[in-house]
Structure formats: C-alpha cells, structure tokens
Symmetry: C2
Subunit: 221 residues, 2 copies
DNA sequence: AAATAATTTTAGACAAATCTAAAATTATTT
DNA sequence: AAATAATTTTAGATTTGTCTAAAATTATTT
C-alpha cells in the first residue's frame, strides 16, 4: 500500500494538487511553469504518475490527481505546514523565511516522525501563513472567511459571501463580474484611498473601491 | 565557498569520515561494504570527490578526507546528532529508533536551521548514544573515558589508560597484545564470570577476565 | 621470485530526470 | 473552414549514480 516516491515525484504531485485546487483541471504548461521546468519533462512525469495510478490523465486532455494522489498530496501538505509551524513557533524563524526550508523538510518520509511532531506542537490547526494543516486523516479545518481588505497580495481566494444585501451592491457586483465562488487575487493595494487592484483569472485586472472590498468576504484557496 | 553536494556525496563523505576515525587510511572495499554498494561505484565517486578537493586520493593507494572534507563531514555529523537529540528529548522517540530518521534529516541543507535547532535544544554536548555533538565550529567535547566493562557490545573504542601500574598487569597486556591506543570491540559479555570476548582488528577474538577489563579504560571511537 | 589471491580500476551499460528540436494535436483567428 | 497559433507529445541526447565483467595493480603464498 505504501508507494515509494522520489522527491521529484512528490514535488509534481504537490504542484498538481495546488493547481487543481485553484483551477479544476490542470495543464502541462501550468505545471511546467510552476516547477520551472519544460513541458516535455512534465509529459514524461505525467506518464509515470498515471502508471502509478496517482493521476487521471489522457493525453492532450488535461489531468487531475486520483483519490490516491490526493491522499498523498495532503500528506505532503501536512508535512510542509507542520514544519513551518515548528520553525516559527519553536525555532523563532520569521514567517516569511520558512518556505524553502519546509520545502526540504516535507520530503522526510517517516510517518511516525510527523505524527510525533504534530503531538509535540499540540495539533495546530493553521500554519503561520494562515493555511489549514491537514490532520492524520487528511482532514483540515475550513479556511476561515476573511474580509477582502485583509487578503494578502497575490493570495488566491474565492468569494464566499457578501456583507450586505442591497440591490445597488448586487448591481455593482454583476457589472464587475463578481459572484459567490469567483476566484480572485489582490494585485495591489493603494494607500491613498484604500482601493484595491483585483485580478480574476482570464480577465484584465481592475480596481475596486474600499467600500466594495469591505462588503466582500473570501476564503483563501 | 559553499559547495553543493548531493545526498549521495554526503553519504560517502560521512562513511569515509567514520572509517578513517577508526582506521586511519580508508580502502575502496571498506567504503563499498559500509554503503552496501559495489567497489566500482566507490571508485567513480572517489574520482568525483577528489576533483572537488574533498578527498586526498591516489589510485590504488587508499585515501583520506582533505581538510575541507573533514569540515563537511563534521557538519553532517553535527546535523545527525542534533536531530537525534531532538527526536529523543523533544519528540519522545526511543534512543534505538532514531537512527534512520536522522539519516534523512542530516541532509537538510539550511545552516540557519541547524544553528537555531542547536539553540532551541540549548547546545547539547552529547547525543542519545553518548557520542559528542560538534559545535558550530566543528569542535566537540572529548569523548569521556569509560571502563571497558561499561563499553557497549560492538562499539569500537581505543584503550586510553590503565587503572593500575603493575608489572604483572603489563606482562599480561603485552601477552594479549594490548597497548595504549589499541582499538578493540567487545563482542560478547559472559554473565557467569563477567569475562569479555574482545576483538582487535586483524586478530582473532579472545577472552579477558573481569579483573583485566576493570583495569582498562577506553574512549569510544 | 613465481604463482595465486585479493583489491581496485576501467570500460561499457542502464535507469531516472532532465533537456532541445521536431512532430502531433487542439484552439483561435480571420 | 482554412490558416495560424498555442499547447502537448515524441524522439533522441545528457547527467548522475549505479551496475557487471574484465583488466590492472598490489598483496600474500608457496
């Protein structure tokens, strides 16, 4: 039942997991960009992962992780986030300097190690960046809903609710092409009037007012 | 100044380090045995390490680490032993189940990580097996001298002093071919009369009495 | 000091993960 | 719906670490 995976394979699985969280179906080019490698290399790996039943993949058709693949990805995410928590809470790293180290630590294979680390840290639910940490069974706490004004720049999030129910607001949202479930990122914050530059995938970026941003709640993705 | 080393290269360096601690000059076959690989593979790696100036090596002549090589080896040993200490003291692993995990953790490259871990652990001097942990500069505490009767089975050690100065004792030591500096291992302990079976490299094992063992002090190697 | 044995090195091959360049397929324009 | 563009895949090469089998060297016997 335990498949042995190389660090490279794990990195592909993790990248595909994150891309499909944001995007649904994943493409060869996206993965190549994410991993700073060439599409041809990605295709080779896709075949390998398909053969190991980690990936549902038909050529030219895009792909997604299988159930097994998702289980493995969650295991890697769990390790990454627990180590980040450890680095910040116990070793006094800054939250902005832990990522690369966690990228290495997440590939340490011992399950016992990670479960004991989890216990030592007293089963934290969120990592230092606010992302939820999967538990032993791969379950994670729901991402808390935050106000759009509090969303970090370049953090993908999905609109989860609107603060007020007014026809005027709905009219504006319709015009801006924003609905519940719309995935967006904040690209810039303007201090002068607290307006935000917003990017929805496949559209050009546009600006929204402070008032509109305050009416929108999102969950990080 | 910072050379990038693969996990494989690091494992070779560590193996050579440990072998030369015990042996002086190291041979291709010894390394192959230690790393469970073939002599031909070792020769390939030796050339590579020589080229990187980590090894003083002339073919057919045996080899030793260069100063740089020793510095690198001490860094790996430092990481291994600090992680072992962490696993036992913080994560409640048994001292006998930490080795394989530490074998993986020792290859995490961040120097900052290991120095912060050292601080978190409050600069321990010895790991759970009693081996000294090198500090940031590669210095380690002298291995404490222990009585031969307390030496664990199969732990290589060097005779460091004798407890009493008698002609009779010296006569016996001469006959048994034991001197200050002689490297030996205890292969068996016999409960009946507390005699020990001793093995000196290149000789057949032989037995010594409890009285003789109590007169000998050793340092682990 | 020859012969034999053991060790070590070379030569050539293989698998994993990558690359470039070209071919195949799908998507988008006009 | 052709033509063009973008994406994806294939084919063939490269690098790293490994292997086996054979050759070279050193060590040990007789």
């Amino acid at each position: 039942m335990e498949i042995n995976l190389s660090v490279t394979e794990e990195n592909y699985i993790k990248a595909i997991y994150h891309l499909q969280q944001a995007d649904g179906n994943v493409s060869t080019n996206e993965v190549a960009k994410e991993l700073a490698t060439k599409p041809a290399s990605v295709t080779d790996m896709l075949k390998k992962l398909k053969q190991k039943k980690i990936l549902n993949y038909e050529k030219y058709q895009g792909f997604r992780l299988s159930n097994d693949g998702r289980r493995i990805a969650l295991g890697i995410v769990r390790k990454h986030r627990l180590w980040e928590y450890f680095l910040v809470e116990k070793l006094q790293f800054g939250w902005d300097e832990v990522h690369e180290v966690a990228e290495e630590l997440e590939h340490i294979s011992s399950k016992k190690l990670i479960d004991k680390l989890d216990a030592f840290l007293e089963y934290p639910k969120f990592d230092p960046h606010g992302d939820p940490i999967p538990d032993v069974n791969g379950k994670m706490a729901a991402q808390p809903q935050i106000n759009l004004t509090d969303l970090p720049v370049n953090q993908l999030a999905a609109v989860s609710s609107v603060g007020i129910q007014s026809t005027e607001l709905l009219e504006l949202l319709k015009h801006k092409n924003i609905a519940i479930g719309t995935k967006l990122e904040v690209k810039k914050k303007f201090a002068f009037d607290n307006s935000l530059e917003i990017k929805i995938k496949g559209q050009n970026a546009f600006t929204i007012s402070q008032q509109l941003a305050q009416a929108l709640f999102v969950k990080m993705v």
